[in-house]
């Protein structure tokens, strides 16, 4: 294949990566922004979404599209419920102490991951795509489903943005994010807002996983990479800024495909982790973020 078509393919793949990454990272960013906590278990909510999706589609076998649609609704709801329960039982008890919650979510990471290993097993299992048509370009054919993923992710991101900016719930979230004490003084149910935000953050990761699982297969360790990438995106995009997160997700998702042309994934990861560390040391507000209030 020539370089042109190759680049086009990398572009397409990059768009898919970016779309899914944006969804996952926005979930993490939302939780950090509103609750000021770092959720290390975020990748496990992603993994759970994929595992539940496999479970749904295998229950409704024979109708891939139907099973997938069911997964698209059931998996995020289940994950959201799990997240909400852990928020009530654990994070609330820790009073959202930033350092304590990191350790607690690390514990949660191990618990969810190992329970998945017990319940689901160590194998990677595929999920059939709901649609199978291929788009034929002059140089190569491309799975139409991947473009559906991009469209769905974009729609979900728009919906999130709409909720945040145009609804009462969004207003409550933003008020809580801006100043918790004042929000409490204005009788905003901060407690409930936190529970909802944590659940919604996990659901965004779960839905991203449902979308990607027909391409990637479900596996109990699949949460590690999305966690790392979301971290990178959220930190570079400016902690807690949704807009910055989406922009960073697109930049990093797109470059992921292109970078892999030039270096091994391991080297790319090394550079990315070091970059994140350096950003946190020298520009804690993120590369594109504004200075803190």
């Amino acid at each position: 294949m020539d370089f042109g078509p190759y680049l086009f393919l990398a572009f397409l793949e990059g768009t898919v990566t970016a779309a899914v990454l944006a969804l996952t990272a926005v979930g993490l960013s939302l939780v950090f922004g509103v609750m000021r906590i770092v959720n290390v278990a975020h990748g496990e909510f992603f993994m759970l979404g994929a595992v539940f999706a496999w479970w749904c589609t295998s229950l409704i076998s024979g109708y891939p599209a139907l099973g997938f649609l069911a997964a698209l609704i059931v998996a995020p709801l289940l994950v959201g419920a799990i997240a909400m329960v852990s928020e009530r039982l654990i994070l609330k008890r820790l009073n959202y102490n930033p350092e304590g919650t990191i350790v607690a979510t690390i514990a949660l990471l191990y618990i969810i991951q190992q329970l998945a290993l017990i319940g689901y097993g160590p194998d990677a299992r595929p999920v059939e795509a709901p649609i199978t048509f291929r788009i034929v370009f002059p140089w190569f054919g491309y799975a139409g489903y991947k473009l559906v993923v991009v469209a769905a992710a974009a729609a979900l991101l728009l919906a999130t943005w709409f909720v945040l900016t145009r609804t009462r719930l969004g207003l409550l979230m933003r008020a809580t994010q801006y100043d918790r004490e004042t929000a409490l003084a204005f009788a905003i149910p901060v407690d409930r807002v936190y529970a909802i935000v944590f659940a919604v953050g996990a659901m965004l990761a779960a839905v991203a996983a449902v979308l990607i699982v027909p391409i990637q297969q479900a596996h109990y360790l699949m949460g590690n990479d999305p966690l790392l990438l979301s971290f990178i995106v959220v930190i570079i995009g400016g902690l807690g800024s949704i807009k910055g997160t989406v922009v960073a997700a697109i930049v990093i998702g797109m470059s992921d495909g292109i970078i892999s042309v030039f270096m091994t994934p391991t080297l790319a990861k090394i550079i990315a982790t070091l970059l994140v560390a350096m950003v946190l040391v020298w520009r804690p507000q993120g590369l594109f973020g504004q200075t803190a209030r």
């Binding site: 949660l108 991951q113 017990i118 560390a277």
Partner: protein, 326 residues
Amino acid sequence: MSVRATAARRNLHRIIVSHGGVIALLFAAQFVIGAYYHLSLTRVMVLATFAVGYNILFGYTGLLSLGHALFFGAGLYGAGIAATQFGVGASGAFVVGIAAGLLLAFALGLIILRTAGVAFMIVTMMFAQAGYLLVLYFGTYTRGDEGFVLKGALREAHLFGFSLNLADPVTRYNLALFLLAACVVGCIALVRSPVGRVLVAIRENEERSRMLGYNTFRYKLFALTLSGTICATAGAAYALLFAYVGATFASIEYSILPLLWVLLGGIGTVLGPVVGTLLMFYLVDVASSYTSAYMLVVGIVLLILIVWAPGGLLGTLRERKIGWLP
């Protein structure tokens, strides 16, 4: 003699008796236990040294690192690679491992101590992850996940004309015990020294310590360097005593484990990390004979500790009963 001096003397006696007692108990244990526990206890003592080192930074200085696998790994690979690639011999490799950790901790400290709290946790985690990936990336030398073993002449350490057979269980056990004892004694000395007092002050209230005239950055750098050096010493000892060097020991799991050991045994106590490592090691040991998902135990214990018992075993004991425990 003043009341205070008398009390201080009495406390020192208690500390010597209790901590010396634990070390004597560990020494005596080798004559009682069977071969399996003999080996695993040797392992526990090296890992407990790792935990004691971690505790200096976390427990006494209040800096929660999520990346100490980096220092353990530096000692492990520093010693392992020096021994296999550069033929420096076991004793030389040990020194190289320690030096690697010391230099790494000092250099990294200059950078990462600009951050605090959550940022410090993430930054340490990221650097450790980068270190782990570097081990994988340079697979030609490190043999990645698979790791490499130390063989032949490397199982023999020459020191001051003495020759120690590192493959011999009894030698191994007592070397590990000596290392742990030295670190425990060093830790007691540190905690009771003026430096230790300032480290605790930084943990309790850094801003106040700064305004009391302390260059807190320098103290934190000292704590990090010392902590990293001890962890690297444990890593180097691990490589040389058990003759195996693998990437697992540099992975995130080995950053979380010392945190868990310290939390379990008692944060900011000298013996806490030892007790925590011992209990957790055998808990995981038992769990892994039932299921491959033995890390579940790690998650559950960690969660229970952070939510319900942040003081850990000895920390809670000190709070309730024995206030003199260092």
